[in-house]
Symmetry: C2
Protein backbone atom coordinates (compact mmCIF):
# COMPACT_ATOMS: atom_id res chain seq x y z
CA UNK A 1 0.00 0.00 0.00
CA UNK A 2 1.35 3.40 -0.92
CA UNK A 3 1.72 6.01 1.77
CA UNK A 4 -1.50 7.79 2.65
CA UNK A 5 -1.64 11.26 1.15
CA UNK A 6 -1.39 14.07 3.66
CA UNK A 7 -1.27 17.63 2.40
CA UNK A 8 -0.22 20.75 4.24
CA UNK A 9 -1.77 23.86 2.73
CA UNK A 10 -0.42 27.26 3.69
CA UNK A 11 -1.83 30.73 3.21
CA UNK A 12 1.42 32.65 3.56
CA UNK A 13 1.62 35.60 5.87
CA UNK A 14 3.99 37.42 8.09
CA UNK A 15 1.75 38.54 10.96
CA UNK A 16 -0.84 35.81 10.36
CA UNK A 17 -0.28 32.56 8.53
CA UNK A 18 -3.13 30.16 7.83
CA UNK A 19 -2.52 26.41 7.73
CA UNK A 20 -4.65 23.42 6.91
CA UNK A 21 -3.72 19.74 6.99
CA UNK A 22 -5.86 17.26 5.10
CA UNK A 23 -5.62 13.52 4.67
CA UNK A 24 -7.06 11.28 1.99
CA UNK A 25 -9.20 8.58 3.51
CA UNK A 26 -9.56 5.08 2.07
CA UNK A 27 -12.93 6.11 0.68
CA UNK A 28 -11.13 8.73 -1.42
CA UNK A 29 -12.62 11.60 0.56
CA UNK A 30 -10.47 14.22 2.20
CA UNK A 31 -10.67 14.92 5.90
CA UNK A 32 -9.18 17.81 7.84
CA UNK A 33 -6.59 16.72 10.39
CA UNK A 34 -5.89 20.23 11.63
CA UNK A 35 -6.30 23.84 10.64
CA UNK A 36 -5.73 27.21 12.21
CA UNK A 37 -3.83 30.43 12.12
CA UNK A 38 -0.36 31.21 13.43
CA UNK A 39 0.01 34.73 14.78
CA UNK A 40 3.54 36.01 15.14
CA UNK A 41 4.29 38.35 17.99
CA UNK A 42 4.11 42.06 17.04
CA UNK A 43 6.49 42.73 19.93
CA UNK A 44 9.27 40.87 18.17
CA UNK A 45 11.52 42.15 15.40
CA UNK A 46 10.74 41.37 11.79
CA UNK A 47 13.57 38.84 11.63
CA UNK A 48 12.42 37.10 14.82
CA UNK A 49 8.91 36.89 13.40
CA UNK A 50 10.29 35.24 10.26
CA UNK A 51 11.90 32.71 12.56
CA UNK A 52 8.53 32.13 14.27
CA UNK A 53 7.01 31.43 10.84
CA UNK A 54 9.78 28.92 10.12
CA UNK A 55 9.37 27.17 13.48
CA UNK A 56 5.61 26.88 12.99
CA UNK A 57 6.04 25.29 9.55
CA UNK A 58 8.72 22.92 10.82
CA UNK A 59 6.45 21.88 13.70
CA UNK A 60 3.51 21.21 11.37
CA UNK A 61 5.73 19.12 9.09
CA UNK A 62 7.11 17.18 12.04
CA UNK A 63 3.66 16.57 13.53
CA UNK A 64 1.69 15.61 10.43
CA UNK A 65 4.41 14.35 8.07
CA UNK A 66 2.75 15.69 4.92
CA UNK A 67 3.69 14.21 1.55
CA UNK A 68 3.39 17.55 -0.21
CA UNK A 69 3.05 21.21 0.71
CA UNK A 70 0.77 23.61 -1.17
CA UNK A 71 1.40 27.34 -0.87
CA UNK A 72 -0.62 30.18 -2.31
CA UNK A 73 1.14 32.40 -4.83
CA UNK A 74 1.29 36.12 -4.23
CA UNK A 75 -0.11 38.41 -6.82
CA UNK A 76 -1.29 41.59 -5.14
CA UNK A 77 -0.04 44.99 -6.09
CA UNK A 78 -2.31 47.23 -4.05
CA UNK A 79 0.15 47.65 -1.21
CA UNK A 80 3.73 46.91 -2.19
CA UNK A 81 5.03 47.22 1.38
CA UNK A 82 2.64 44.51 2.57
CA UNK A 83 3.38 42.41 -0.51
CA UNK A 84 7.11 42.56 0.24
CA UNK A 85 6.59 41.60 3.91
CA UNK A 86 4.38 38.65 3.02
CA UNK A 87 6.76 37.59 0.25
CA UNK A 88 9.65 37.41 2.71
CA UNK A 89 7.59 35.13 4.95
CA UNK A 90 6.61 33.11 1.90
CA UNK A 91 10.27 32.58 1.00
CA UNK A 92 10.85 31.24 4.50
CA UNK A 93 7.84 28.90 4.21
CA UNK A 94 9.04 27.52 0.86
CA UNK A 95 12.53 27.03 2.24
CA UNK A 96 11.25 25.10 5.28
CA UNK A 97 9.29 22.78 3.00
CA UNK A 98 12.20 22.12 0.65
CA UNK A 99 14.63 21.71 3.56
CA UNK A 100 12.33 18.98 4.87
CA UNK A 101 12.66 17.27 1.49
CA UNK A 102 9.03 17.88 0.55
CA UNK A 103 7.71 18.75 -2.90
CA UNK A 104 6.03 22.15 -3.06
CA UNK A 105 3.11 23.11 -5.26
CA UNK A 106 2.12 26.71 -5.82
CA UNK A 107 -1.27 28.03 -6.87
CA UNK A 108 -2.70 31.46 -7.55
CA UNK A 109 -5.87 32.45 -5.66
CA UNK A 110 -7.72 32.08 -8.96
CA UNK A 111 -6.52 28.51 -9.39
CA UNK A 112 -7.59 27.67 -5.84
CA UNK A 113 -11.04 29.18 -6.41
CA UNK A 114 -11.34 27.36 -9.72
CA UNK A 115 -10.42 24.06 -8.09
CA UNK A 116 -12.89 24.40 -5.21
CA UNK A 117 -15.88 26.14 -6.73
CA UNK A 118 -15.29 25.70 -10.48
CA UNK A 119 -15.20 29.48 -10.80
CA UNK A 120 -11.99 31.53 -10.64
CA UNK A 121 -13.70 34.61 -9.26
CA UNK A 122 -15.79 32.96 -6.55
CA UNK A 123 -16.52 35.01 -3.44
CA UNK A 124 -14.65 34.37 -0.22
CA UNK A 125 -17.75 33.30 1.71
CA UNK A 126 -18.76 30.91 -1.07
CA UNK A 127 -15.29 29.38 -1.01
CA UNK A 128 -15.39 28.91 2.75
CA UNK A 129 -18.77 27.20 2.61
CA UNK A 130 -17.54 24.84 -0.10
CA UNK A 131 -14.43 23.96 1.90
CA UNK A 132 -16.56 23.21 4.98
CA UNK A 133 -18.90 21.02 2.91
CA UNK A 134 -16.08 19.09 1.21
CA UNK A 135 -14.30 18.45 4.49
CA UNK A 136 -17.54 17.98 6.48
CA UNK A 137 -16.62 20.68 8.93
CA UNK A 138 -19.70 21.78 10.85
CA UNK A 139 -20.34 25.50 11.27
CA UNK A 140 -18.16 28.34 10.03
CA UNK A 141 -14.40 27.80 9.93
CA UNK A 142 -13.30 30.31 12.55
CA UNK A 143 -10.26 31.79 10.84
CA UNK A 144 -10.41 33.08 7.26
CA UNK A 145 -6.72 32.27 6.88
CA UNK A 146 -7.29 28.69 8.01
CA UNK A 147 -10.18 28.32 5.55
CA UNK A 148 -7.95 29.66 2.77
CA UNK A 149 -5.20 27.24 3.75
CA UNK A 150 -7.62 24.29 3.68
CA UNK A 151 -8.75 25.43 0.22
CA UNK A 152 -5.11 25.51 -0.92
CA UNK A 153 -4.58 22.01 0.48
CA UNK A 154 -7.66 20.73 -1.38
CA UNK A 155 -6.49 22.42 -4.59
CA UNK A 156 -3.08 20.76 -4.15
CA UNK A 157 -4.81 17.41 -3.70
CA UNK A 158 -6.88 17.91 -6.83
CA UNK A 159 -3.81 18.88 -8.80
CA UNK A 160 -1.97 15.75 -7.64
CA UNK A 161 -4.89 13.61 -8.70
CA UNK A 162 -5.01 15.27 -12.11
CA UNK A 163 -1.29 14.65 -12.60
CA UNK A 164 -1.71 10.97 -11.69
CA UNK A 165 -4.63 10.39 -14.02
CA UNK A 166 -3.12 12.24 -16.98
Amino acid sequence: MSKQEIILGIDPGFGRMGYGVIEKMKTGEWQALDYGCINTSPKKSFVERLQEVCEAVELLIKKYKPTVVGVEKLYFARNVTTAIEVAQARGVILLCAVQAGLPVDEFTPQQVKQAITGYGKAEKIQMQKMVAIILKIKGKIKSDDAADALAIALCTGQSLWLKKTK
Copy 2:
Protein backbone atom coordinates in the same frame (compact mmCIF):
# COMPACT_ATOMS: atom_id res chain seq x y z
CA MET B 1 40.60 41.62 23.40
CA SER B 2 37.12 41.68 21.95
CA LYS B 3 36.41 39.63 18.87
CA GLN B 4 37.46 41.27 15.65
CA GLU B 5 34.52 42.71 13.80
CA ILE B 6 33.63 40.89 10.60
CA ILE B 7 30.59 41.98 8.64
CA LEU B 8 28.74 40.13 5.94
CA GLY B 9 26.85 42.50 3.66
CA ILE B 10 24.22 41.13 1.31
CA ASP B 11 22.49 42.67 -1.67
CA PRO B 12 19.47 40.36 -1.73
CA GLY B 13 18.44 38.73 -4.95
CA PHE B 14 16.88 35.63 -6.28
CA GLY B 15 18.75 35.09 -9.56
CA ARG B 16 21.80 37.08 -8.46
CA MET B 17 22.83 37.82 -4.89
CA GLY B 18 25.75 40.09 -4.11
CA TYR B 19 27.88 39.50 -1.03
CA GLY B 20 30.74 41.33 0.61
CA VAL B 21 32.72 40.40 3.70
CA ILE B 22 34.73 43.06 5.46
CA GLU B 23 36.93 42.95 8.53
CA LYS B 24 38.02 45.75 10.83
CA MET B 25 41.79 45.88 11.06
CA LYS B 26 43.68 46.94 14.18
CA THR B 27 44.29 50.30 12.52
CA GLY B 28 40.52 50.83 12.47
CA GLU B 29 40.36 50.55 8.71
CA TRP B 30 38.11 48.08 6.98
CA GLN B 31 39.46 45.54 4.56
CA ALA B 32 37.56 43.30 2.18
CA LEU B 33 37.99 39.60 2.91
CA ASP B 34 35.80 38.46 0.06
CA TYR B 35 33.14 39.73 -2.31
CA GLY B 36 31.27 38.42 -5.29
CA CYS B 37 27.98 37.43 -6.75
CA ILE B 38 26.05 34.17 -6.34
CA ASN B 39 24.10 33.18 -9.43
CA THR B 40 21.36 30.63 -8.90
CA SER B 41 20.69 28.18 -11.70
CA PRO B 42 17.86 29.27 -14.04
CA LYS B 43 17.38 25.59 -14.87
CA LYS B 44 16.20 24.87 -11.33
CA SER B 45 12.76 25.50 -9.88
CA PHE B 46 12.05 28.62 -7.88
CA VAL B 47 12.05 26.67 -4.63
CA GLU B 48 15.36 24.98 -5.45
CA ARG B 49 16.86 28.37 -6.21
CA LEU B 50 15.73 29.64 -2.82
CA GLN B 51 17.57 26.69 -1.34
CA GLU B 52 20.69 27.66 -3.31
CA VAL B 53 20.45 31.15 -1.81
CA CYS B 54 20.20 29.65 1.67
CA GLU B 55 23.16 27.34 1.12
CA ALA B 56 25.29 30.21 -0.17
CA VAL B 57 24.53 32.34 2.88
CA GLU B 58 25.18 29.44 5.26
CA LEU B 59 28.49 28.78 3.55
CA LEU B 60 29.57 32.42 3.83
CA ILE B 61 28.64 32.47 7.51
CA LYS B 62 30.52 29.23 8.14
CA LYS B 63 33.61 30.40 6.24
CA TYR B 64 33.97 33.94 7.57
CA LYS B 65 32.15 33.77 10.93
CA PRO B 66 30.76 37.30 10.72
CA THR B 67 29.64 39.05 13.89
CA VAL B 68 26.75 40.78 12.16
CA VAL B 69 24.91 40.58 8.84
CA GLY B 70 23.74 43.66 6.95
CA VAL B 71 21.00 43.27 4.34
CA GLU B 72 19.59 45.89 2.01
CA LYS B 73 15.91 46.71 2.43
CA LEU B 74 13.61 46.41 -0.55
CA TYR B 75 11.67 49.43 -1.62
CA PHE B 76 10.99 49.20 -5.32
CA ALA B 77 7.54 49.32 -6.77
CA ARG B 78 8.27 49.47 -10.47
CA ASN B 79 7.89 45.76 -11.03
CA VAL B 80 5.87 44.01 -8.35
CA THR B 81 6.58 40.52 -9.73
CA THR B 82 10.32 41.08 -9.42
CA ALA B 83 9.88 42.70 -6.01
CA ILE B 84 7.98 39.66 -4.76
CA GLU B 85 10.64 37.25 -6.10
CA VAL B 86 13.48 39.18 -4.52
CA ALA B 87 11.53 39.55 -1.27
CA GLN B 88 11.13 35.78 -1.00
CA ALA B 89 14.88 35.36 -1.38
CA ARG B 90 15.40 38.13 1.15
CA GLY B 91 13.22 36.29 3.68
CA VAL B 92 15.42 33.24 3.22
CA ILE B 93 18.59 35.30 3.69
CA LEU B 94 17.29 36.88 6.90
CA LEU B 95 16.23 33.47 8.20
CA CYS B 96 19.67 31.97 7.54
CA ALA B 97 21.32 34.80 9.46
CA VAL B 98 19.00 34.55 12.45
CA GLN B 99 19.21 30.73 12.46
CA ALA B 100 22.98 31.13 12.76
CA GLY B 101 22.38 33.28 15.83
CA LEU B 102 23.63 36.45 14.17
CA PRO B 103 22.21 39.94 14.60
CA VAL B 104 20.82 41.42 11.40
CA ASP B 105 20.83 45.06 10.41
CA GLU B 106 18.72 46.39 7.56
CA PHE B 107 19.30 49.53 5.53
CA THR B 108 17.52 51.23 2.68
CA PRO B 109 19.55 52.03 -0.45
CA GLN B 110 19.32 55.69 0.59
CA GLN B 111 20.84 54.95 3.99
CA VAL B 112 23.67 53.01 2.36
CA LYS B 113 24.37 55.84 -0.08
CA GLN B 114 24.22 58.37 2.75
CA ALA B 115 26.67 56.32 4.81
CA ILE B 116 29.21 55.87 2.00
CA THR B 117 29.06 59.12 0.07
CA GLY B 118 27.27 61.44 2.50
CA TYR B 119 24.54 61.88 -0.07
CA GLY B 120 21.37 59.75 -0.18
CA LYS B 121 20.94 60.09 -3.91
CA ALA B 122 24.50 59.36 -5.00
CA GLU B 123 24.99 57.72 -8.38
CA LYS B 124 25.83 54.03 -8.63
CA ILE B 125 29.24 54.62 -10.22
CA GLN B 126 30.14 57.20 -7.56
CA MET B 127 29.20 54.72 -4.84
CA GLN B 128 31.31 51.98 -6.39
CA LYS B 129 34.34 54.24 -6.65
CA MET B 130 33.97 55.26 -3.01
CA VAL B 131 33.69 51.63 -1.89
CA ALA B 132 36.85 50.74 -3.83
CA ILE B 133 38.72 53.69 -2.29
CA ILE B 134 37.61 52.93 1.29
CA LEU B 135 38.54 49.25 0.97
CA LYS B 136 41.63 49.93 -1.18
CA ILE B 137 40.42 47.68 -3.96
CA LYS B 138 42.35 48.41 -7.14
CA GLY B 139 40.41 48.77 -10.37
CA LYS B 140 36.67 48.42 -10.85
CA ILE B 141 34.82 45.94 -8.65
CA LYS B 142 33.69 43.45 -11.27
CA SER B 143 30.17 42.78 -10.11
CA ASP B 144 27.72 45.60 -9.37
CA ASP B 145 25.96 43.36 -6.87
CA ALA B 146 29.22 42.66 -5.05
CA ALA B 147 30.00 46.39 -4.91
CA ASP B 148 26.53 47.03 -3.49
CA ALA B 149 27.01 44.29 -0.92
CA LEU B 150 30.36 45.77 0.17
CA ALA B 151 28.64 49.16 0.51
CA ILE B 152 25.97 47.56 2.70
CA ALA B 153 28.67 45.93 4.83
CA LEU B 154 30.43 49.28 5.25
CA CYS B 155 27.15 50.98 6.13
CA THR B 156 26.49 48.26 8.72
CA GLY B 157 29.95 48.85 10.16
CA GLN B 158 29.37 52.59 10.38
CA SER B 159 26.03 52.05 12.06
CA LEU B 160 27.62 49.72 14.65
CA TRP B 161 30.25 52.31 15.39
CA LEU B 162 27.63 55.03 15.78
CA LYS B 163 25.68 52.84 18.20
CA LYS B 164 28.80 52.18 20.27
CA THR B 165 29.79 55.83 20.49
CA LYS B 166 26.30 57.08 21.30
